[in-house]
Amino acid sequence: MTTTERPPIPDPIDLDRAEEARLRTAAGLSLTASQRGGEYAGFEDIGLPDRPPQTEREAEVYSLAEGEMLLNMGPQHPSTHGVMRLVVKLRGEVIVDIDPVLGYLHRGIEKLCENATYTTVMTYVDPMDYLAVMHNEHAPAMAFEKLYGIEAPKRAEYIRALVVELDRVASHGLMMGFLSLDMGGLTPILYAFINRDEVVDLLSAISGQRMLFNFFRIGGVNWDVNDEFLSRLGTWRSHVLKNIEMNEHLITDNEIFRGRTIGMGVLSGRDAIALGVSGPNLRASGVAFDVRKAHPYSIYRELEFDVITQESGDVYARYLQRIAEIKQSIHLIDQIIDRMPHGPVQAQVPGIVRPRPGRAYAAVESPRGLYSVYAISDGGPNPYRFRMRDPSFISLQALPKLMPGHLVADTMAVMASFDPVMGGVDK
């Protein structure tokens, strides 16, 4: 080997920087602030928009007063339930203002549904609220049946109510786990998943899929109740209350948990109605509005259950509300199993459904609130317009109203108590 003195290997970091600067100047783009090395070198990547604010709210949130700081709880944040970005304006640890930035999981489901036949709309709608998938399918099924002018047989309606209530128990059980996970408890989330995995295996015995069931059809359900489903239902029913109580012992009367949730994120009934919050969060503020009682659909007219409300409307009340609703759902499941009639589970419906031109609105009580579908048909094979109202998307508006004044640690608790699912929020 010749012993010519070899130039030293350049440090890769400087090489990357040189390349970055070269590419940017070549593309005629401005250097990033950090490369310009200006005084606010680090400002450009925390979401401070570099164009003049376009709306009053944006000017209000993104203008920093003295001693304030913008913290970017970014799309990948361990505790937000999925990809939601909260730009939080902090003064020390106290939150001054909060601005949710959504859209990181926007898949354009409504546009896709306008190009899909009525039966394939069920598959597009499944991954929306992926913790309460049966409810996602229940509302479109009811809306399309109104459009098509057909009615599901009695047994199909009972099976629908059964699987919907099972899904509600699993979803509310998970909420308890997420709430304690966001406050540092490691074990409740795993106990909650035990209950959820049991319910999911139960539902996969009847629908064949673990999570995105695709079980509802226009005019009924896909399969009848089989014996594996019933035997698992029996074993699950026998120990579900014990499982829920096991989780409750860890959380409900835990002094640290109560200290961190009682009095946090108080939402009054009047504000909740004005903000469009619905479901357990609304009932936790004292307003008894439950779609199953307000506009009884399916067989909820014949089932006997009561709408439970709490008074204080804080994080602890929402937690208690969900436990009470789990018990109501179990009570409903008992009644449904008692009164399940015999008969077909699927009405006679042609392969490609072409409903008469018209409009239909169907609302369902999902674990996160009023989930409703507004479908317009023009007589063709695919819906002309398919609009979905997702409850967690609308109830997220309460965050900017509730959070100012709380601490950063409380954002996680209040967020977990609202239990938003980003698939539904971003549609």
Binding site: P7, I9, P10, P12, L15, D16, A18, E19, R22, G74, P75, Q76, P78, G82, V83, G103, Y104, L105, H106, R107, G108, I109, K111, L112, N115, T123, Y124, P127, Y130, L131, I189, L190, F193, I194, R196, D197, V200, R210, M211, L212, M422, G423, D426
Partner: protein, 213 residues
């Protein structure tokens, strides 16, 4: 003399940037009869041959892959139920889901990647220290899945970052994800990770230069 990365002991294929006053590295290597592999990296006389010590190091890395705590949509719930009591990913040494990308080895992309989320995800991938691997979990992540025709979905994560293991299923069962992790173990033991090709080539020039889609 192959360029051995001081930190990880892995060979980094030719340095990406040609600094004007220094002869490009691949010319240096061509003197020794090394020809360039289309995927990046070199074959020939001076290739670094993994020895027993490298194999032990790979075994250590394989058995303690820390996944990054980041889920996009429904597959994230199945990823969580993989880490729970019924089927437990902690048995393979993967439990502490690290919250910060700086301490993570594996980025399990679980869910539909949308155009708005592509920027942050690429940034997350670049913040992870080497050696790092990527597992695309679910059909939405691998190829856009049931939302392939949508206007705001990136049709496959490998358009923005190099992916090592694709786990099919919508969502894949926890056992499916664990099977994908076992495949990743084999891949780690044979050092066939994709990330080294990303460093100098960038995503779009990876596999499908000629591919017309």
């Amino acid at each position: 003399m192959a360029i051995v990365d001081p930190n990880t002991g892995l060979t980094r294929p030719k340095a990406p940037i040609i600094v004007p006053d220094q002869a490009p590295d691949d010319d240096l290597l061509r003197e020794f009869g090394m020809e360039e592999h289309p995927q990046g990296g070199f074959h020939g006389l001076l290739e670094v041959i993994p020895t027993k010590a490298d194999y032990v190091l790979d075994l250590i890395r394989a058995n303690s892959l820390w996944p990054l705590l980041s889920g996009l949509s429904c597959c994230a719930i199945e990823m969580m139920s993989t880490a729970t009591s019924v089927n437990d990913i902690d048995r393979f040494g993967m439990f502490p889901f690290r919250a910060s990308p700086r301490q993570a080895d594996v980025l399990i992309v679980a869910g539909t990647l949308t155009t708005k989320m592509a920027g942050p995800l690429v940034r997350l991938w670049e913040q992870m220290p080497e050696p790092k691997w990527c597992v695309a979990m679910g059909t939405c992540t691998t190829s856009g899945g049931r939302f392939k025709r949508s206007y705001s979905v990136v049709q496959g994560v490998d358009r923005v970052m190099p992916v090592d293991v694709y786990v099919p299923g919508c969502p894949p069962r926890p056992e499916g994800l664990i099977y994908g992790m076992m495949k990743l173990h084999e891949l780690v033991k044979q050092r066939r990770g994709q990330w080294s090709t990303y460093v100098d080539r960038g995503p779009q020039r990876t596999r499908w230069e000629g591919d017309v889609r």
